[in-house]
Each structure stands twice: as structure tokens, then as C-alpha cells.
Symmetry: D2
């Protein structure tokens, strides 16, 4: 089910959240606290927006566990950034561990992560793919439900690199509705865990959602201190007062130093 | 455009053809003789049929170059086999180097390799995929034209694990015709290099073919000595008298200690 | 502190102990039961003795976690063997995860594994290395205490490929005494966890030992059923009656279908 | 024998020299022009000095070939720097391809690369190691002659992070003299190829040297345009007028926008 972290704020190095914090993402890769299966050792990825005049993020992904990758510790300590996404993966059973399956996925300015599982994906994958535009279809390089969801989203915003905040929010809602619709069409009645994360380097949209009302979605928290905002699968520091739990069925927008929560459906 | 070797015959270790021969496959991975670009350093794979009562081959693939992979040298010297496929890859531009893209591809008893390139693949990939059965569609894990061709073939033989020799040959012919048809439909008029290799562990089928009459297909040779038969992209030993060149537009069957060549079209 | 398994007996495939058993080694790589830190995700290795006339084992090692390595599942299901070692690694802090640091280590007919830690190794490493013969010194390729212990052992048996059982046992004792002596010389007074495993493909020697009397050594168990003998860091099947615990300060010999325990010191 | 590039000058991205130039380092990894064996596919590494207030370089190394590593293309296009080293490796026969053996090697502010081979290294390796300080001995993590030479150098400058230019130059000379001395002691009379590269992020020292007068050392060139200075194993652009060949037996200093060549011995 994975773990992720998103940061926006003052220029920082990624090391604080990835390595130094009490419950840093790399610690979560070995021993996440809010998962039944605490291990997220099936590769990882980071995507950061440069501080110079380049709107496109850089990404670094690996199929190795985050805890033993020497390059990650270098990247985390040497690259200043105001905005980054990071993800440690716990692959669904049978899914290959490959670079193409590592989050965050990138298209132009956008980064996308998923903490969850679109249950019974194999049953509606072909249907989903058949509905994609050629551009979205060709965009997909790996095997994950998460990347297919991103392709759906890109179609929803018509691959617009300059999409407005409201367009991003609407795209996210439409994406989840389409997924729910495809699942209905094939009779997929189990729960889908849908914690998505999207950013364009300026503003971000997150969801905490499960398709069944009686199943608790994967956890999601945020913390704001001035302009610095962290959104993550679980608190990264031990002081839990510090963290606000995102309620279920929520879409969270982080934009212009503000965090706004609204009901998804 | 890759290089491959296929062996059938007495029980042997793979090391002779993979490492020891003057122009062994691992040497070809660094410096193939019959290619303009001599390098095949984008991963490799072997598939061998066990000598005990197990009809399904084992495979070993890696994204590392064959020449520096310490596990390959172990596997090549320790596993007796009467029948194996081996492949070193030169990835087409833009194609990821991943385990899912390494040859040989496997389905049940079958192994499949490709030395060539289905030019303009991106133009007819979606058309090809749309024509596949669900089983063939779901079978595909990677990004290559080669694996898609194998999926086509599996549909042609209806995924039959006990397909007769003539059915395998007909399946191979149909596969190439379908590829040519899909290419025609999208106006792909450049050459496609179609040297396929298929085996079920008992008998094998190879092709040497190019879709344009004035383009020479990738090279293909074989050598027979008693029951031992080697088919490979280029001669593996220096004595070239030893090797028979497969003519263009040929389908080569290796079956019951015999090599039979017939015109493809 | 790692986990390991050793098997000798009837011809088998490695998959039963590596994958299928309730507490298989691959399960232990994610969630070992008898360790405070249950994770052994820093690479793995297997060494098996071929069933044909080849006295030298083959090895397969990887820096990837055992649970997601597709080649391991192939090797485990396709290679018959009467005798094998397998190991999943939890690297000591600061130790690189590299193929050279994966167990089992091999010299000629011998395989060597270690479940434990020679505490304060950095303090006596240079002293230990300075006492090695040139052959033993040059043998070392990686950074681990475990490989240095094996080099010590090889010196103790004078690199003799035909060493008798008593010579192997004496070599093991001498190796541990030397390690203890080097540690004393540099004032290393913390505990060293010394569970070693050695085999020549016919007979094996194991130790369960800690240098401090009040520290419990790492666990070690064995199970015998006819000629089939398994020695492993923890029971591999759920039926614990089935397994005999090896007492601390023990040297265990597995030889000619017999398991013999004797006090180490 | 490897290939390397060093850059100092205005803030740039590494992509120009690593990917875009006619004879970029990544092209050299596949097809170097000034080597008998053109292939440098045994891993690579880059070390860059951040543009913010951090004197210590970041490094990124991999055992994969440079040409197919997707992370390298990201790092090369997203990280601004005024000073970097980059290296593609052709491993000497028998040397493991591992991250610990990738150049550049780092100690604090220093980066070190080697294009060459200390022939008969196995004969004088133990002698060299025995002469090292404990700090230098413990510094070594891999198996290469190149890293041992760096350890020697670090001893020569007493691990001084603030060593003056003249101290760096003297340290380089002493390092080569010691290597030559150790080789003489063991009767190593073949040629050693000694093209070293050292930097502290401000100034750099290079050598082009072979121990035998009748053997041509590995190639070395530089190009200066204003404050931008490139030193590399071979010209990176096609216009060869642009490049100054470094004469054999030369120590080249790059310091304060100047390139100064002096005879080594």
C-alpha cells in the first residue's frame, strides 16, 4: 500500500523528511507505523522542482529499497528545492518491481503518486485502457494501477500543462469517478483504496478515499508551519499533536500557502 | 538489433556457447561481428529446459550487460541442459532497459526471442493490442515489439501448450502476416526486421525475414553436428565453413534432429 | 543479523525451503520470527551442489531483496540438488549492500555463511588482515566480517580442498579462537555473535556461539527426517516439535546422515 | 581504461558534456574514439559541487552503463553546478563491477578519478596497503587500484581538507613516486597508465603519465574558453582545433581560471 510524503515551502534539502525525522520516509520504508504490513521495500522515487528557472521536476527512482540506496542519501542532502514528492513502494502481489513502476510518475510539470490499491485492477484494466486517448495510452510504460489512474487524469485535463487549480480538482474528481464507473461495469465490488497525490510544482491535490463506506481508507495527515506544508501518509515526527488527520472522503488542496479540505463526493 | 543463440542436442553446459567459443554470445554482447552497431549491452536472458522431468523451462534475465554479470557465468557452468535459448539485447531507442523487456519471453513450455525491429511499432502498437484476446493482452508485461509479437503468436495457436509442429509453423506464418497487415493499415512502409525464434523445448521454429524486398534481413546461421544443432544470429566459432547461412525469407524448423528450411512467403 | 538455511539429503528443488514452507527463508527475509528486527532485505544468496559430476557448487547472489527477485524463484524451482546453502542478509550499519558482501561465500568446494556480527570489527579488521596469508588476503573481495572469518578459516585448513572432517572441525575452532584473540588484543569486550556455517558439499559444520557468557547467541535449529537434514536460523515449518534447538556454545557436525553436537569450548 | 571529464566555470547543467556534445561522455561510454577497446560500459559516476553554501560534493554512481541509466539523464539536466567530475568505467579483467568501484571516489571535499591501470596491481597491492595509515586503510571500500592510489594521496596530504594548491601538487607527485617505488620493489616492470584527476571543488590537478618511456600514456586534452575549462580523456566536441593535447609526463593544474602544465618528473 506504500507510503508517501509531499513538501512545499521554503528552500530545503530533502534529507530532513527522508532521513532525519523520527518517522522519516526511509524509516517508514522499513517499518511504517500505520500499516498492517509495515514494509515498503519494493523501490522508491523522489521528484523535486529545481530552484532555478526550470518548471519541470527532476526525478530519481530505483528498484532497490530506500534504506540501502547510497545515491538517495546523496540526492537528499545536495539538492535544494522548495517542492518535492517522495514515495516508498510496497508492490501489490504479482506486480513487477521495475523502474517503470516506481512513483512519482511524471508528465511534463506534473508528478503523481498513489498510496493504495485499485482492487481487482486486472478485471477492468483493459476497459480503462480502451477508453484512453492515444496520448494517454502511449504514456503508460509500466504495469501499475497507479500509472493508469494518472493517465486517466491526464486525459481529464487534456494534457494541459497550464491547467488551473479548479481544473486540476475537477480532473481528480473525474478520474475517481471514472475508476469507480469502470469497476462497476466489471462487477468489482471490493474496496478500492484511493489516496492520490498530484502536483504541478506550485499547487497540489490529494485524496483520501475508499470506495466502500465501511472500509477505512489508507491514512493521510498534514502539517503546516508558516509557508511550509507537509502532506504524508503518516506523521513524520513523533509529536502527533503537530499533525492534522485528513478525514475520509476528502480532497485536500495545497495552494498559495493554504490547505483546504473539501468532501470528495 | 540484438543477437541470439539456440541449442538443441546432447546434454551440455551453456558455457561453451555463451563464454568459451571464439565468437561466443557474451563476446557478441561487447563486439558482435555482423552488426553495424556491435554493442548488445542492454541486458540479456537465457532460458533452459531442465534434464529432469519438468517440461517448463527456467529463465534467468538481467538488465546488466552479459559480460559483467557474475551470476550468468555460474548459471552457464552449473546447469546441464539439452535445449536452451540465449539472447543479448540492444534496446531500440527510447525503450526501457528492464527485466520485463529481456528475451527470451516465456509462456508455459514456450520460449520466444526476436532479433530485429518492427519499425514504426509505436504507430501500430495500439491496433495490434486491440486485436489480442484478453489472455494475450494480459500476458504482456513489458514495452517491446518482440513481446507483442509473441502475444500475437500465442493467440494464433490459441495458447495451446501441445500444439503440433505444423500448428507452430502456421502460427508463426500467421503472426508475421498479421504484423504486416497492421503495419499496412497504419501506413508503416519502412522495413521490419523479423528474425523470430520459438521453441517448446522439443522443436523450434526460426525466421529470417524483412518486409521490404530490397533490405537485407538480419543475419541467421546454423550448424549441425550429429544431433547437436545450433542456430544463431552469427557464427559462434571462427571456422565459417562450419556454418550454413539461412537465406532470406526463410522459415527454419529444427525438429527430430533435422533442420528444414522453407520459403516463408 | 541475517537468516540462513542449509539442506542435505535426497534430490530436491530449493523452492520448498525457500518459498513454500510456512516460515520459508523468503518469508524470513520480510518477517523473521526470532529476530528483534525481522527484516533481512539487504540481498541474498544461494549455493547449490550440482547433481552431475561436478564437485564445485554454483552460486547465485543479488543485492535485491529475496522476496521480489524473479530469478530466485526460477532457480529455486528448476535446479535439482542434494545439498545447498541459502542466506538472506541484514547488513550491519554502514556496510555496503553489494554482491561481494552476499553470502554464501565460496572457495572451490567450500561455501561459508554467517548469521551474526563480529562486534567492533572495525577495530580488529586490520590486525586480522595482517595475519592472513597472501592467498587468504587476496581472496577477500568485500567488506564483511563474515568473509574475513572465512579467509581465516581457509588459512587454518591451508586452503586444502580435501580437508578431512576433523580438520574442518579443528579449522572452525581455530578460526573462532583467533577471532577472539584478535578482539582481546584490541580490547573489544562487547559480544560477538558467531553462528558460522561451512560445507564442502558432503559434510557441514555449524556453530552457535557468543563470546560473552551472559548474551544469548543467535538462534539455530535443525530437523532430521531420514537422510534429509535441515539446519536453519529458525524453524522453517510451523510444527515446532519437529525442530531441535541447538544449545549455545555448540559445534554441530552434519556428516554421513548424522547430526552430532559437541561443546565448542 | 575508462574515460573522464572535468568541468569548472560558469554555472551549467551537466547534460551538455554528458549527453549533448558530439563526443559526449555518454557517447564515449559506448564508442570512445581514442581507445583500442571503445567500450566503457562497466558503470559510471558523477560528482558535482552544489551552487549553494555546501563545500562537499554530491555523487551519483551506478553499475549500469551510462547510456541506459534513466536517473543520469535526470541528474544531468536538473542540477546546476560550477564544477563537476564525471567518469565512465571499463573495468580491468576480473575486477568486480560494483558501486564501491565506481569513480569518482570521494573524501570530504575531494573527488578522485583515474583513467588508466596500475599494471600488476595484484603484486604490489598488499605492500601498498601495508604502508597506509589506519585512516587511509579504512577509507578503502572497493577493489580498484584507483581507489588505493587515492588513499595513498590522502595520506600524502595527511587528509587535510584545506590543503594548499602546492600541497595538492606535491601530494600528487609523491603518490606517483610511491606507486612507482612499490612496483619496483615487487619487480613490476610493465607499464602503468597513470592519468589521475583530483579536485577540491576549487582547483584541480591532473596527470598524464606512463611509467615506461616507450609506452604512450592514455590521452588527455583540455579546452579553455574564458573561465570555462574542460579537461577530458578525449575531445568532447568534433572541432579538434578547439582542444589542446596534454603532453606526456605532465601535471596539469587548473586553478583561478588558469591552466598550467608542468613536467611531472
Amino acid at each position: 500500500m506504500c507510503r508517501f510524503i509531499a513538501y512545499t515551502g521554503e528552500i530545503t534539502l530533502m534529507e530532513d523528511l527522508l532521513f532525519n525525522a523520527e518517522n522519516s520516509l526511509v524509516r517508514q520504508s522499513k517499518q511504517a507505523k500505520m500499516r498492517v504490513n509495515p514494509l515498503n521495500g519494493d523501490g522508491f522515487g523522489v521528484g523535486w522542482y529545481p530552484t532555478h528557472s526550470d518548471e519541470l521536476p527532476g526525478t530519481f527512482v530505483s528498484i532497490e529499497p530506500a534504506w540501502s540506496n547510497r545515491n538517495l542519501s546523496q540526492i537528499a542532502t545536495k539538492i535544494p528545492t522548495k517542492h518535492f514528492f517522495a514515495h516508498v513502494r510496497d508492490a501489490s502481489v504479482g506486480m513487477p518491481v521495475s523502474q517503470s513502476n516506481c512513483h512519482p510518475f511524471q508528465y511534463g510539470r506534473y508528478l503523481w503518486m498513489h498510496n493504495g490499491r485499485l482492487d481487482q485492477f486486472s478485471c477492468f484494466r483493459r476497459l480503462l485502457l480502451s477508453e484512453l486517448s492515444d496520448q494517454a495510452f502511449d504514456f503508460i510504460k509500466g504495469n501499475t494501477d497507479s500509472e493508469c489512474a494518472f493517465a486517466l487524469f491526464l486525459d481529464e485535463i487534456a494534457f494541459d500543462q497550464q491547467a488551473s487549480h479548479s481544473k486540476l480538482v475537477q480532473g481528480m474528481r473525474n478520474t475517481i469517478e471514472k475508476i469507480s464507473d469502470y469497476r462497476r461495469q466489471v462487477g468489482a465490488s471490493t474496496n478500492a483504496f484511493i489516496n492520490f497525490a498530484l502536483t504541478n510544482g506550485q499547487e497540489s491535490v490529494f485524496t483520501r478515499y475508499s470506495t466502500l463506506a465501511d472500509v477505512r481508507p489508507a491514512s493521510l495527515f498534514y502539517h503546516q508551519e508558516g509557508e511550509n506544508i507537509i502532506v504524508s501518509s503518516e506523521p513524520v515526527t513523533e509529536n502527533s499533536d503537530y499533525w492534522t488527520k485528513v478525514e475520509r472522503n476528502t480532497l485536500l488542496s495545497v495552494c498559495a500557502n493554504k490547505v483546504v479540505a473539501e468532501a470528495l463526493f
